[in-house]
């Protein structure tokens, strides 16, 4: 075990090189719907239980299934209304279970990135070879079903090993060269993209995905009231938009169709989307597009800036 994962160096949030998003926009806004499949009876991981109740835990399973049966179309209709393409954090077995959902997202030119195979299969306890095989399976599945070369990763149920990011980047390169496996949503240390140091030295970035704005964190972990969640989203946006004057920022809303698309939460979500998209200097985009743009325009500048600050102010 390490005291510091060693992915990035300290980079103070002042006097950074000025980032401008395409079209001179100040804030890159993306929505990441997690489209997940939870198994009713997964093999029991020795480090983390999938369900609080004994099998069959229909209570938790049921509401997650609600997300796919009922919630998905609601959320998709809302994103359509505001001209937002989702960046799907995908339990890739969903390609087999619910191809209808994949087809609808594909038709809208949404991005698919890997969120593992099932959200009930944790990385904990896997050997390097097992984790590599799981990641490879997930990226191949996305390619086979959507034709997309998977660019991003969010580990299943945010379960990681020390090697997760290395393996994702390496498998991406093995499968598709530099066109795949180049960004992660697993780190929450910044509001701007950060180059990530990997053993392969690949040009790999962390894209802010926001744990705080994640509907499941807000609703399930922090038990936030729906209208307050809507207000938090607007407040988060206001500050990042303002700071975008200095250097371009990123706002992400990670969603779950079983949380945000419940009837009592749609209004708060819609109000926030309406508010955010009514501002002129917002780049409505996807995770992959942000990572691509950053890698080709700012990656080297930012690396230099980080090194220049390594020795003190």
């Amino acid at each position: 075990m390490k005291a510091d994962p060693g992915f990035y160096q300290y980079w103070p949030y002042q006097n950074r090189p000025k980032i401008r998003w395409p079209g001179g926009k100040k804030l890159a806004f993306w929505v990441a719907p997690n489209i997940e499949f939870y198994e009713l009876n997964p093999p029991e991981n020795p480090y983390r239980k999938a369900w609080p109740q004994p099998y069959p835990a229909i209570q938790g399973y049921g509401i997650r299934d609600y997300g796919n049966r009922v919630g998905h179309n609601r959320q998709m209709a809302l994103l359509d209304k505001y001209g937002i393409r989702g960046s799907v954090s995908l339990s890739t077995a969903l390609c087999e279970h619910h191809p209808e959902i994949i087809a609808m997202c594909k038709e809208r030119n949404w991005e698919f990135f890997s969120h593992g195979i099932y959200n009930t299969r944790y990385t904990y306890g896997m050997s390097e070879q097992q984790e590599r095989a799981m990641i490879r399976d997930s990226m191949e599945t996305i390619y086979r079903h959507t034709g997309q070369k998977c660019a991003g990763y969010l580990a299943p149920a945010l379960s990681h090993s020390e090697l997760t990011l290395d393996l994702f980047a390496e498998v991406g390169t093995e499968l598709f060269g530099d066109e795949a496996g180049f960004y992660t949503c697993d780190l929450f240390h910044d509001d701007q993209p950060t180059p990530i140091a990997l053993r392969s030295n690949k040009r790999f970035v962390s894209i802010p995905y926001s744990l705080e704005m994640n509907d499941t964190i807000a609703y399930v972990v922090n038990k936030v009231e729906p209208r307050r969640y809507g207000q938090m989203l607007k407040d988060n946006f206001d500050r990042l938009y303002q700071e975008g004057d200095e250097s371009g920022t990123i706002m992400c809303i990670p969603t779950h169709n079983y949380q945000v698309a419940c009837p009592h939460r749609m209004k708060a979500f819609e109000e926030a989307l309406d508010y955010i998209t009514s501002h002129p200097d917002v780049w409505l985009t996807t995770g992959r597009e942000i990572a691509d743009y950053f890698r080709s325009h700012y990656y080297d500048t930012v690396l230099d800036d980080i090194s220049s600050k390594a020795g003190g102010a």
């Binding site: 499949f37 198994e39 009713l40 009876n41 093999p43 991981n45 020795p46 109740q53 004994p54 099998y55 069959p56 229909i58 209570q59 399973y61 049921g62 509401i63 997650r64 299934d65 609600y66 796919n68 049966r69 009922v70 998905h72 179309n73 609601r74 077995a93 087999e96 279970h97 619910h98 191809p99 209808e100 959902i101 195979i117 099932y118 299969r121 306890g125 896997m126 050997s127 070879q129 097992q130 095989a133 799981m134 038990k223 009231e225 729906p226 209208r227 419940c262 009837p263 009592h264 939460r265 749609m266 209004k267 708060a268």
Partner: protein, 310 residues
């Protein structure tokens, strides 16, 4: 370090669900439903009347809302009892004032212990569904099939006899089921099951016995979840249900009839400081284009429009 190879094998990775309990189906893709009077929204208010025994066994776990302190946990025992003695009568007054038809999910042991309540519900002609024997009698895989069959039989036989009703709906305590529960319920004349929350409309469940209907009774909108589990304010509870109503009305205008299922507990909403919020809620709902009906009436209307029943 490595996991057992089963962790990288996916035997249920296939089209549809990873089990055979029901078919995969997206709500928005189904035929439109019409409710009586062309009302877009059916309202099912489900009132739970529960008995939480003081000598709770907690198998296989302590039921949410049950005893949490060392025996005798008088505070929780008596506070739950409050709902059946006091809270219920405030709830009934509120429902009557706004002309809302409730359905009652009753623990059979409560019916046995409190004939007054059974008579009251019978006189008022309310539909009763079986809520299991009591809140501490969970249905779970660790029971033998014989024990579970006996528990269901005892619960249904007594409730049918006491109420004089057919009793064809079921809500498991804590919505906990064994693998066998739906099949055993179908075997004993249950027609619909309210445990599953994966839909906003009824849908068919497969069992090894006769098929059942799932009648989804939202947990997310339940008073016990919003007020008890999430500790949201009463004002937020009101807001959440009215926002739901508005949203479902709008969805219904495009996709056909929808159902708003409200599960409430007199031990919570029947408190003096909360009842006013229930009244305001019912005032709002009754001013909207809703059709208030009992669970079985809603299901009958729904199932009559399904191809399989013609």
């Amino acid at each position: 370090m490595a996991l057992d190879p089963t962790h990288l094998s996916y035997p249920k990775r296939r089209y549809g669900m990873d089990h055979d309990r029901y078919d995969w189906s997206m709500l928005s893709e189904r035929p439109k439903i019409r409710w009586p009077g062309d009302k877009p929204l059916a309202l099912w208010v489900n009132v739970c009347l529960q008995f939480f025994p003081l000598d709770q066994q907690g198998k296989p776990y302590k039921v949410p809302g049950g005893m949490t302190m060392p025996y005798p946990d008088l505070r929780h025992y008596s506070l739950r009892d409050y709902g059946n003695r006091v809270g219920l009568f405030r709830v009934l007054k509120a429902l009557d004032r706004y002309n809302i038809t409730p359905t009652f999910a009753v623990n059979t042991e409560l019916a046995v212990r409190t004939p007054y309540l059974v008579t009251l519900l019978k006189e008022r002609q309310h539909e009763i569904i079986c809520h299991g024997w009591n809140m501490d009698c969970l249905h779970y895989n660790g029971m033998t099939e014989q024990d579970e069959r006996g528990l269901i039989q005892r619960s249904l036989d007594s409730l049918r006899e006491l109420s004089g009703q057919a009793i064809d709906g079921w809500l498991s305590p804590a919505r906990n089921e064994s693998e066998r529960t739906p099949g055993l319920l179908a075997e004993q004349g249950i027609r619909y099951l309210c445990d599953w929350v994966n839909d906003d409309m009824p849908y068919p469940l497969h069992t090894h016995n006769k098929p059942l209907w799932a009648m989804p009774l939202s947990t997310e909108l339940e008073d016990a979840f919003i007020l008890g589990n999430n500790l949201h304010s009463e004002a937020s509870y009101l807001e959440q249900v009215t926002d739901s109503c508005d949203f479902l009305l709008q969805e219904a205008s495009q996709q056909g009839g929808r159902m708003l299922a409200l599960n409430i507990h007199p031990w919570l909403l029947g408190q003096p400081h909360r009842i006013g919020y229930l009244e305001r809620l019912l005032d709002y709902l009754s001013s909207q284009a809703i059709w208030s009906a009992s669970a079985s009436t809603i299901l009958d209307t729904f199932s009559a429009q399904q191809p399989s029943s013609t």
